[in-house]
């Protein structure tokens, strides 16, 4: 746990420093360095959260929780050059906790439909949302490397460092996660439903085919 001291003395051009330097300074209690890390990675972390959640409502809260937790645990960061996947890993865990809580709540109150997916292509809402729901049910040890690699596009080597396991283990976990998601297969139905709905709407409104 790190307690931050206020920054004194002449201002440095932190934005010119690489992540490793910033992490080292943040680990020493430099809040300005942590702020720079936030400014550098918050957008990406927000994107990672939004990709899974598919909605905007809780984004601020999750990004806030992610960076607060990151500040408190920055000493545990294994590799200073892997800040981004490390932050995304924290974000994934926090998002998962929220989704699990939400699922429990909605199972009791099904008439509360707070889930409002957003996607640039409405036809894509179904499969992505179903995939997101399926991911909630996957164990964290499989889900995190799979999401870092398949959704966030991180290299397998970087995922291995972030997760603290060997490259072979990461490959095995990603493959296992993919197998479980394939066997779930709920989004195939959703794709068909979404496509059908789109076609129906186009026909009804007389839109161009």
């Amino acid at each position: 746990m790190v307690s931050f001291a206020s920054v004194q003395g002449p201002a440095l051009r932190l934005h010119e420093q690489d992540d490793g330097v910033l992490v080292a300074r943040a680990q020493g209690g430099d809040r300005a360095a942590f702020r720079e890390l936030y400014l550098r990675h918050a957008r990406y972390v927000a994107g990672a959260i939004a990709r899974w959640l598919g909605r905007d409502a809780e984004l601020d809260d999750i990004v806030q929780d992610t960076f607060v937790r990151a500040a408190e645990r920055i000493d545990s960061l294994r590799s200073a050059t892997h800040v981004r996947p490390w932050l995304v890993t924290i974000a994934i865990r926090i998002t998962h906790s929220r989704l699990v809580r939400e699922r429990r709540r909605t199972s009791l109150m099904r008439f509360f439909v707070a889930h409002q997916p957003q996607s640039s292509d409405p036809r894509m809402q179904g499969p992505a949302d179903e995939l997101g729901a399926a991911l909630v049910r996957i164990p964290e040890g499989l889900r995190v490397p799979w999401m870092l690699h398949r959704i966030e596009g991180e290299r397998l080597e970087d995922v291995a460092v972030t997760c603290g396991v060997s490259l072979a283990t990461v490959k095995r976990r990603i493959a296992e996660c993919g197998r479980r998601l394939e066997s779930a297969g709920a989004w195939e139905t959703a794709t068909t439903t979404a496509a059908t709905t789109t076609t129906t709407t186009a026909t009804t409104t007389g839109g161009t085919p």
Binding site: F4, R35, R43, R51, W52, D56, V68
Partner: protein, 358 residues
């Protein structure tokens, strides 16, 4: 099929803009401060308990005629280490200026001192808490819901609070008030006690400690005047903002821009015109009207040079001039941004833009 789902998920983007980024950053830092204050207070509790026990023993052993002074000492010490309910006493003796640390006030509020801050608790009664801040930066987390006034005095500037969290930074020539949540009223001390501004979450105000408000904060107008000002002809600001929100919800950016432009042009004196100008800039940029966006951002910055959005507005203006192909204005605005905000959040972005200028 899973590949299609993966692709769909990977293509999702967050609606994340600089303003939102800064807002969440402020929340992150406030939360870290709050947790840090708790830890610091927590570390002192065992020692304080021992000290309180020792004083209690001393008080009990003291002759009865001296008990009154013992209570005064106890009250002062306890209020410095641990929240207590507002006590049924008159004004407590003033606690001497404190050089550092977190101070839990008797009403449950916490003042966390930074940068060599010094404060003095002048009044603490069930009806009023009054603190004089003579130096440095202090974060106040005020316990809400109590029927008392909470006032921070920094030179001749008063910050009056009812349940909120905010910063007061006392520089040699100015006092800066930054509100995290809730509302505070800032007023000038004196016979007329002129209200300078009422601030909400995310607002920041810099007030010169000279007799006059510095030009940088002149847009913050006396509340009484703002509230009694006759409504301009045509729709009210509330109606126009509602119209803009509704238009944006329906992706009608042209209508949203028109409503916001009306706020900016026809309600110049309304404090919401500042934020509306900034929003107008964002919408115009979304519409690809970069020059119009740049003008809107510039207008926002000029309207409130020390406003919470102004740094963002200056950077966005420079980028928008560039995107609109108006390179002379882009260079001027970019250099202006760098000179005013050498450590600003957009320095790298503006520098990249300047490097790309023909």
């Amino acid at each position: 099929m899973i590949d299609e789902a993966v692709r769909a998920m990977a293509e999702r983007e967050a609606a994340w803009d600089p303003l939102r980024e800064r807002r969440v950053l402020a929340r992150v830092e406030a939360e870290l401060d709050r947790r840090g204050a708790r830890r610091r207070v927590g570390r002192w509790v065992p020692a304080a308990m021992v000290a309180v026990a020792a004083i209690l023993v001393a008080v009990l052993a003291w002759p009865r005629g001296e008990v009154a002074s013992g209570q005064a000492i106890l009250g002062g010490l306890a209020s410095a280490v641990e929240p207590l309910p507002a006590v049924e006493v008159g004004s407590l003796p003033a606690i001497p200026a404190m050089p550092a640390g977190a101070i839990a006030l008797g009403d449950g509020s916490i003042a966390t001192l930074h940068d060599g801050a010094r404060i003095e608790l002048r009044v603490q009664t069930p009806d009023e808490t009054r603190i004089a801040q003579s130096l440095g930066r202090v974060h106040y987390e005020v316990r809400p819901g109590l029927p008392r006034t909470f006032v921070v005095e920094a030179d001749d500037v008063r910050v009056i609070v009812v349940g909120t969290a905010f910063w007061v930074t006392h520089d040699p020539d100015a006092v800066r008030v930054t509100v995290e949540h809730g509302r505070v009223r800032v007023q000038r001390d004196g016979d007329d006690a002129a209200v300078i501004a009422e601030l909400g979450a995310g607002d920041e105000l810099r007030v010169g400690t000279a007799p006059e408000v510095t030009p940088a904060v002149r847009p913050a107008r006396p509340i009484a005047k703002l509230r009694t000002k006759p409504v301009a002809e045509g729709p009210s600001v509330d109606e126009l903002l509602a119209r803009a929100d509704d238009a944006r919800a329906h992706s009608d950016l042209a209508a949203a821009a028109a409503a916001l432009r009306q706020v900016v042009e026809q309600h110049r004196d309304d404090p919401r015109a500042y934020g509306s100008a900034f929003q107008l800039g964002k919408i115009e940029r979304s519409r690809g009207r970069h020059a119009a966006a740049a003008r809107a951002f510039t207008g926002a910055a000029e309207r409130s040079p020390a406003g919470a959005l102004t740094e963002d507005a200056r950077a966005e203006a420079a980028i928008s001039w560039f995107d609109g192909g108006l390179y002379t204005e882009a260079r001027e605005a970019g250099e202006d941004y760098l000179s005013r905000h050498p450590e600003g959040a957009h320095v790298a972005r503006v520098q990249r833009m300047l490097q790309r200028l023909p």
